[in-house]
């Protein structure tokens, strides 16, 4: 046992050293075809080894077919992207089409007048509008206007579990919060960490409070917060769901060590795969991660998934989901190549080949009627389940850290981490956030 840990530790240390030296050699500039702006519309997206080739081939198909002009892809790492986009959008170096998360994140750009309103195009072309899942398309709808077109898969958050760990403890997959609590107690008594949590990264903790507030108070409570209504944080549903979280922490549901477990380094996922934890609340990408890192765990059929449990007496519909509805392409209002940019986002993203490529890469595109295609593909059990979950969801709440303005989101994540550590009370959290 301990020698296995030792080798793993040493191996991961070596790998990290290697990674660090690679990172040190990398550049922060745009990857991909980048280079001169030239005459082509610039399409900015995130670096992603799986998606980038799909985006490249979509753009080259567009360049061959379109007469409105050419497009060109430039890609960036996640954090540099957010910083660069923000500064670039108000400069002559602005992209023509840019990747975003919708919601409040996009709203900041819209409020600055930097984003083109796509509503007229969608109204002219109802077929295009109807080709996407409505609850997903709405995530880029602000004040009744559409500012983005879905460009990749849906990413709802789901409750993943280790089947054999649950079995060993005699635990059923919980349908309700009460059942989850008794499952936690049973797993704890069985000597495993009930729920894996990568608590060194606060967005993993955020998923708990997002779902709980939705179940307890319904989606309207957070929407009021996002819209900046005075006193919105003081809604009793917020306090109740924060208390549910602290109860869970105090119960030992996340074990003792969660504060230093990371997600990016595979910590929480590995704990689940190794059978040291029963549950793991995570975005739908967890499946692909597990498949890549612990294939034997997935292939043995031990990885299970379920919707987040209902809270008894809560006002929210248990069919609601939270997470990242999808990512969007939006068009810059000051684009020099607006014709090409608009044509690209309205024709290339529901293109058959593009959707097929996404499905083949394991994504669940936000395209209506893609279910048949998913059934034919690999991992159909999982992908069709995700599709049904999203399609059947009356509301798809975007992750709060993307939906709130950046300064509030940063403070909320800090306070949330302190809440999980027991350094902040639910009442203190609400007071701090109300004052922000």
């Amino acid at each position: 046992m301990s020698s296995r840990r030792l080798t793993r530790g040493a191996a991961s240390a070596g790998a990290l050293l290697l990674a660090a030296s690679l990172v040190a050699c990398g550049s922060s500039g745009p990857g991909g075809a980048g280079g001169g702006g030239g005459d082509a519309a610039q399409v900015w997206a995130l670096q992603d080894t799986v998606l980038n080739p799909i985006e490249e081939s979509s753009i080259s198909r567009f360049n061959e077919a379109s007469e409105a002009g050419d497009a060109e892809l430039a890609t960036f790492g996640n954090d540099p992207y957010k910083q660069r986009l923000r500064v670039a959008l108000s400069s002559p170096e602005a992209p023509d089409v840019f990747f975003n998360w919708g919601g409040g994140n996009l709203k900041e750009y819209v409020d600055a007048g930097a984003v083109e309103d796509l509503t007229p195009l969608l109204e002219e072309d109802p077929e295009l509008r109807d080709s996407f899942i409505p609850s997903v398309l709405e995530a880029a709808q602000l004040d009744g206007k559409y500012y983005g077109i879905p460009m990749r898969g849906v990413q709802p958050v789901a409750l993943f579990y280790n089947e054999s760990v649950l079995e060993a403890a005699g635990v059923e997959v919980p349908q309700t919060w009460e059942q989850l609590l008794s499952a936690v107690d049973a797993l704890k008594a069985n000597g495993v960490t009930p729920i894996a949590l990568a608590g060194s990264q606060s967005w993993t903790e955020l998923m708990w409070i997002e779902y709980l507030l939705d179940r307890v108070g319904g989606p309207e409570v957070f929407q009021a917060i996002r819209d900046g209504e005075p006193g919105a944080w003081e809604n009793p549903a917020v306090l109740q769901s924060l208390q549910l979280v602290t109860d869970l922490v105090d119960r030992g549901a996340f074990g003792e060590d969660f504060a230093s477990v990371g997600y990016d380094v595979g910590g929480a996922s590995t704990i689940l795969a190794q059978g040291d934890a029963g549950f793991h609340l995570m975005g739908s990408w967890e499946y692909v991660n597990q498949l890549g890192q612990s294939p034997e765990f997935v292939e043995a059929g031990d990885l299970g998934w379920a919707p987040f449990p209902a809270v008894e007496g809560g006002a929210g519909d248990p069919a609601n989901v939270v997470g990242n509805p999808t990512n969007f392409y939006s068009v810059a209002a000051d684009s020099q190549h607006k014709d090409a940019a608009l044509e690209y986002v309205t024709t290339a993203l529901d293109d058959e080949q593009y959707v097929e490529d996404l499905v083949a890469a394991g994504d669940v595109p936000a395209v209506a009627g893609v279910r048949d295609q998913l059934e034919q593909g690999e991992n159909a059990d999982y992908t069709t389940w995700i599709y049904d979950l999203v399609e059947g969801a009356p509301n798809f709440q975007l992750s709060w850290d993307q939906d709130l303005p950046a300064d509030q989101a940063t403070q909320m994540l800090t306070e949330l981490q302190r809440l999980f550590l027991g350094e902040q009370t639910p009442e203190g959290f609400i007071a701090t956030m109300s004052a922000a």
């Binding site: 530790g9 991961s12 240390a13 954090d79 500064v87 504060a259 230093s260 477990v261 902040q424």
Partner: protein
């Protein structure tokens, strides 16, 4: 913290410049020799500092142009409990890293100054951390101290600690990692300085009957005074601005338990996109950092720099 000493080689004034204008005096190179360095310094140090001071009086989230906001950022900074906590934490961090590193570096440095071969071999091994980049060191320790897969979890006694997750000890974990990285550098300073001490002093002391401890405290330590000051300034200013190690190792967490002032500035600026307020924090750090090194050099008479070799 890794200070580099600039060795400026003055152009040798032997041969006159081919097409040089006749000059009254050839003893000093022209003032224009300074121009490249000065331009660099102006463009990359003075100008950004000026801009940061300007930004600290504005409100800017990255879009469009900064909007002047008067002293709003500064008023907020004065009232900001989180900023105060971050500064206090920075102070604790500075003092502890200094107190941990100085004795270790001093003792190893003086020991390594000996000419014995085993010391040369051991000290070259000991200087290895100097070869690693900060990012690599932070990732390495994050992995070693991981609560589930770390090496420490396989060791007796150490496995009961959660070095990166326990809010009471995580700051000391950071001190340990930073010290591990920088003690070798300061050891090198002390080793070099200790070798400069004339051997005759020790011989005389031996004749006078002084033992090893007496020699250390009455000869070595006083003659290393200026090295102690140099090393302390580097340590204090360095730990005052430590950023990369903490960002990678803990991200300032868990919660805010390792969020020292530079990290608070970064998170405010590049995560919350409040560039104006982050600039105000940056100006405060700039003033405190400059004041700190000025204070240390003043109080210790470092600027007088009189020679110690006459036994003054």
């Amino acid at each position: 913290m890794a200070g580099t000493t600039l060795v400026t080689t003055a152009p040798t004034p032997t041969a006159p410049a081919p097409r040089g204008r006749p000059r009254g005096t050839r003893e000093r190179p022209s003032g224009w020799y300074l121009a490249p360095a000065l331009a660099f310094f102006g463009f990359f140090a003075v100008l950004p500092m000026g801009l940061v001071v300007y930004l600290s009086f504005t409100d800017w989230n990255g879009f469009g142009f900064p909007q002047p906001s008067g002293a709003a950022n500064w008023e907020r900074l004065v009232a900001d409990g989180e900023a105060r906590d971050a500064l206090l934490l920075t102070l604790l961090f500075m003092v502890v890293t200094w107190a941990v590193q100085t004795p270790i570096a001093l003792l190893i440095g003086v020991w390594a100054a000996g000419r014995q071969r085993n010391r040369a071999v051991l000290s070259s091994l000991f200087f290895l951390p100097l070869l690693l980049s900060t990012a690599a060191i932070a990732l390495l320790w994050a992995s070693v101290l991981d609560p589930n897969f770390g090496v420490t979890q396989a060791l007796p006694f150490l496995d009961r600690f959660n070095f990166l997750g326990d809010t009471d000890i995580v700051i000391y974990t950071v001190v340990w990692v930073v010290s591990w990285q920088y003690v070798p550098f300061h050891t090198l300073l002390y080793q070099g300085a200790a070798r400069q001490i004339p051997h005759s002093l020790y011989e005389a002391a031996t004749i006078d009957g002084a033992g090893r401890y007496r020699q250390f405290f009455t000869i070595t330590l006083p003659l290393l005074k200026y090295t102690v000051i140099t090393s302390s300034v580097l340590m204090l200013v360095g730990s005052f601005t430590t950023f990369d190690t903490i960002l990678i190792l803990t991200g300032g967490g868990p919660g805010t338990t390792t969020r020292i002032a530079p990290l608070y500035m970064y998170i405010t600026g590049f995560s919350g996109f409040e560039f104006g307020y982050a600039s105000a924090i940056a100006v405060l750090l700039l003033v405190l950092g400059a004041g700190l090194s000025l204070f240390v050099t003043r109080i210790t008479g470092f600027r007088a720099m009189q020679s110690q070799q006459e036994g003054s």
